[in-house]
Assembly symmetry: C2
Homo-oligomer: 370 residues x 2
Amino acid sequence: VGVDQYWRSFSNHVGMSVAELDTPCLLLDLDALEANLDSLSRLLPRTDLAVRPHAKTHKSPRIARMQLARGAVGICCAKLSEAESLVGAGVEDVLVTTQVVGEAKVRRLIGLARQAVVRVVFDDERAARAVSAEALRAGVRLDCLVDVNVGQDRTGVAPDLSAVALGQAIKALKGLRLKGLQGYEGNLQLLQTASSRRDANRVCMERLGVVVDLFRKHGLCVDTVSTAGTGTFRFGGAYPFVTELQPGSYAVMDSTYAQVEGVEFRLALSVLTSVVSRQQDRIVVDAGSKALSTDYGQPRPRDPALSYLSQGDEHGKLIFSGPPSMDLGDRTEIIPSHCDTTINLHDRYTVIQGGFVVGFWPVTARGSIQ
Amino acid sequence: VGVDQYWRSFSNHVGMSVAELDTPCLLLDLDALEANLDSLSRLLPRTDLAVRPHAKTHKSPRIARMQLARGAVGICCAKLSEAESLVGAGVEDVLVTTQVVGEAKVRRLIGLARQAVVRVVFDDERAARAVSAEALRAGVRLDCLVDVNVGQDRTGVAPDLSAVALGQAIKALKGLRLKGLQGYEGNLQLLQTASSRRDANRVCMERLGVVVDLFRKHGLCVDTVSTAGTGTFRFGGAYPFVTELQPGSYAVMDSTYAQVEGVEFRLALSVLTSVVSRQQDRIVVDAGSKALSTDYGQPRPRDPALSYLSQGDEHGKLIFSGPPSMDLGDRTEIIPSHCDTTINLHDRYTVIQGGFVVGFWPVTARGSIQ
C-alpha cells in the first residue's frame, strides 16, 4: 500500500461525528488552532518583528503553511530530517535550529539547500568548515547564524568574544553567508509567573545584547537575531535588537503551558480515550504513555472534575473529584502535558470542528529525529 | 512513494559500517537478539510451559516470527491494531492482552478473527456480550480468557467469585469459547532483588490459584492460564496451574531491566548518537526525548565511564566520570531505559552484526495504539 492510498483510506471518515471515532486518537480542534494562529500577531510587542514558528511542535506542513499564510517569514525545524520533510511538502524557507554535524548530515543539508532556502546555526568552527566545503562543491550558499548560549547551557558558544571569533570564521568561509545570531532560552519557557519569566529573560537578552554589540563593533552582520518561544516571545520581542521569534507550542498548546501565567492560547489538542475497564474501585481508559507523553508529568483531562494517572504504556486511570460518573465505553478528552512529544507519538491528527471530523492530517515529520 | 519503495531505498545501506550511519538511529544487535531468544527456553522452570512472547515491546512481525520459530505458541499484542499489524505480516495466532471495548473495536476484532486465531480477554460481561453478538453475526468463534486482577489494580476482575460469574457468562455466550484466565502482575517486573520479586509474585499467584480452583469447582475451563513477564516468568512459571508465559522485554532488554537481579539477557538495543556540540563545559549529543524515552528515567550509555542526561526533545548531555574523551562528531551508543516506549519512537531498527549493518527492519506496529 502506498502512502497516498493510505491517506485516501481515511476520506470515508470525514464527516463522522467525534462520538463515532475509534480511540485513542489525537484530536485537533480546528477553530482553536486557527484562533491561536490568528492571535499571535496581535500579541507581538513590536510591529516590525519577524515570526518563524517552530515546526518541532506540530511536525505538519499543513499547519506550517497556515502559519506562512498568516505572515510567518519561514519555519523553524529542530532537525534536518524535519526540514527535509517540510520542504518536501512545499515549505520554502527553513531554519534548522540545532547543529548540523557529520558527513552524512552535511551532504543531506546541501541536498536540501538546492531545493529551498535553508538556514543553519553553528557553535563550532569545524562544523561550519565542513558545511562550507560541501556548499562550495555544490555551488550553493547558505545563510548562517551563530548559536549563542544565553543561559540554557545546552548548545551555543559563550556570549563573549568566542561568538565574535566564530562569526569572523564563518564570514571568511566560502559557501556561507553570516546573517546574525540565534540565542534561544528554552529553559525559561515554563517559568510559572510572568514576572519570573520577564526577569529571567532580561538576563538572557542582556547576554545576547552584549554579543549583538560585539558583532556590530567587529563589523559582523546582525540582520537576524532569532530567539524566544511561546513563554517568552512577548518579553524577548521587546528588545530592539531582536528581529525574529521562534514560538512553537502556541499553535496547539498543552496542559503545562496552560498553567503558565500570561500564555493565553487555546487548548487545541487532546487525546480522545474510552473507558475500557470499569471495576468497583477504578475506571481505566485506553491511553497510556504510548498515546500521551509523560516527560512533562501527567496529562490532564479536559473535564476539570477528572484527573488522569498514567498506568503504563497502554492505560490510564481516571480519578474523580466526586462520585465516578463514567462507565464502560464512555469517552473523554485528555490534554497532553507536552504537545511536542505527544504529537510525535501519533501518525495523524483527527481534525475536528463543532463535534465533527473535518479531516485527517498526517504528522508528516513524526519520528524525524535525524 | 509507496511503502515497499520506501523500504527498498534502504537496501543500499546494508553492508555499511556502523561508523557510516547517520544519527540518531535505533540499533539492534542481531547476535544479542538471537542469544536472548535462544536462551528463554533454557530458563523456563518447567518443560510443559507455553511461551507467548509479547509484541508490545518489539512491534516487529520479523522478531515475532523468530520467536515462533523457537517454539512460541503464538504472540501477545497489547492493542488490537498491533494484532492487525502482526496478522497482516503473517503471524497466525495472537492474544490481545487488553480489553476490546466499543463498536468500532468489536467490528475490527471480528474482521481480524476471520483471518487468524485471535484470543481476547474480558473483565466485563458487557464487553463479552458485544463481541459475542458480532461474532455470531459473522459466524466466527473466539477463544476468551477472563482477565483477573492479581494485584496490579489496573484491569481485571477481583480474584474471587466475580471471576466465576464472568466465566459463566462467557461460557453461556455464543461465538465465544472460554479457555481460562489471564492474571498479569506487571507491577512486579522491575522489583530489584530476586527474592522480593519471588515473594511478591507468590501473593499474586496465590490469588490466581484461588480463581483457578474456583473455575475447576464450577466446571469452567482453565486450559490456559496466562501470566508473567521478563522479570517474573521464572517464578510464575513454577506454579503448576500456570500454562502460558508472556515475556516481552527479554528479546531486546533495556538499562532498567539490566539492573534487575536475575534478569540476565543481553542488551541488544541502543540508540547511536553523535556529539553535535562540544563546548568548554559540556558535550551534547543529538538524541533527546524524541529518540530515547524517559518514562523509566534517564537512559544509560553503553560505555560505563559515561552517563547521559536528557536535555529536552532533541538533545542529551554526556557526563564523564574522568576527563571528557569525546569530541565533535564522535559517536556513542545509549541504552534505552525503557525498550517498549523507545522502540515506539522509531520507524525502523538498524540491524547490526559485528559492526556492520545487516538489515533494516520496520517497527511495523509503531504507533498502533488503538
